[in-house]
Symmetry: C2
Subunit: 201 residues, 2 copies
């Protein structure tokens, strides 16, 4: 029980520290955050969001990794990964209330603090600088989405792999090769060749 | 002189009415908007932003049309158009202070109200619901950018043309064929063929 409380406290502390990178938080603000987010654990392979559903939550990852994938005619392409201290959501589906074409899936056991779309509106209006937090978060979501999509279409596999290593040096050991290859847009064997070439360079 | 004042008044009124679609505005808020935006007229062909520059402004179009273009090795591709009552900017360059790869160019004489990046921050903090306006604007910018990029890469020319007609039924008469073809991603002759096919359907 004490362990559970301790781990809840650590999770909320992680979230509060992350939000503090955007805005200042008063003690009352911290209470609002505690009230509006709730804990969720995803098992390995469990979906945070499934294609065909309406996205109704934003999650904050306390530990673990998720991937964003799109399944086209049985072929799964991975668009992105997210790990500790990141917010995850399909914001397009969340904002415009459109059906998600993306899956968001846990790659390992993932502990999260989750907020519903309705509570997110409350967060924005009840935190002293809540709307500013929303604006800064959306600016970040916007610019990283643009980068990610352009890289998906414009970069060759080797460049995408180099970019992945640069952005997530810590994740390369934690994500199975199969998923990294699906992100880079090639078969696992071709990724091995790229890695071999890079080590002999 | 009276005409000039009248036209300034109409322009600001247009802007205020557009911002009111996002948030409520008090009389004080309206004064802040008047203070922070200034008039600018672009001649046909004049650049609001040139590739290679840092984007330091957001414009609000009162009359006229601009296009967003990217010039690669002398080949110009058109990514988007914007007309009356729209905000225009390269938000990625504006937010992250990175060099723009896009041009934003007037397709006809275009009157605008323009705000600098610095004044935009003031607008967000001084309007009673300024941060909320920023958040809602960024949500819109985000979702429309995603749609636009995905359409650019995933849709064939005919679908892109149909989508253009659906989104901008009023612009098809105002934009020269050459630019519509560059937006759709084909030669003007191929666009003529698509149009002919559509009229005989």
């Amino acid at each position: 029980m004490l362990n559970l409380l301790l781990s809840k406290w650590i999770m909320h502390d992680q979230l509060v520290n992350t939000i503090k990178k955007y805005i200042a938080l008063s003690d009352d603000d911290v209470d609002v955050i505690h009230e509006l987010f709730s804990e969720r654990i995803l098992n390995k392979g469990e979906h945070f969001l499934s294609a065909g559903e309406l996205c109704q939550h934003v999650g904050f990852i306390c530990s673990g990794i998720v991937y964003y994938g799109v399944n086209t005619d049985g072929n799964e392409t991975i668009h992105n990964f997210a790990c500790e201290n990141s917010f995850v959501s399909n914001y397009d589906s969340l904002i415009n209330k459109t059906i998600s074409i993306k899956d968001i899936v846990a790659l390992e056991e993932t502990t999260m603090l989750v907020i519903s779309a309705q509570n997110l509106e409350q967060l924005y209006s009840r935190l002293s600088e809540g709307q500013r937090f929303g604006r800064l978060l959306m600016e970040e979501v916007y610019t990283s989405a643009i980068k990610q999509i352009l890289s998906f279409y414009n970069n060759d596999p080797e460049t995408r792999y180099m970019e992945f290593l640069r952005q997530h040096p810590d994740l390369v050991q934690r994500i199975p090769q199969y998923y990294i290859a699906a992100y880079v847009g090639i078969k696992p064997q071709s990724l091995s060749r790229i890695r071999k070439r890079m080590t002999t360079m």
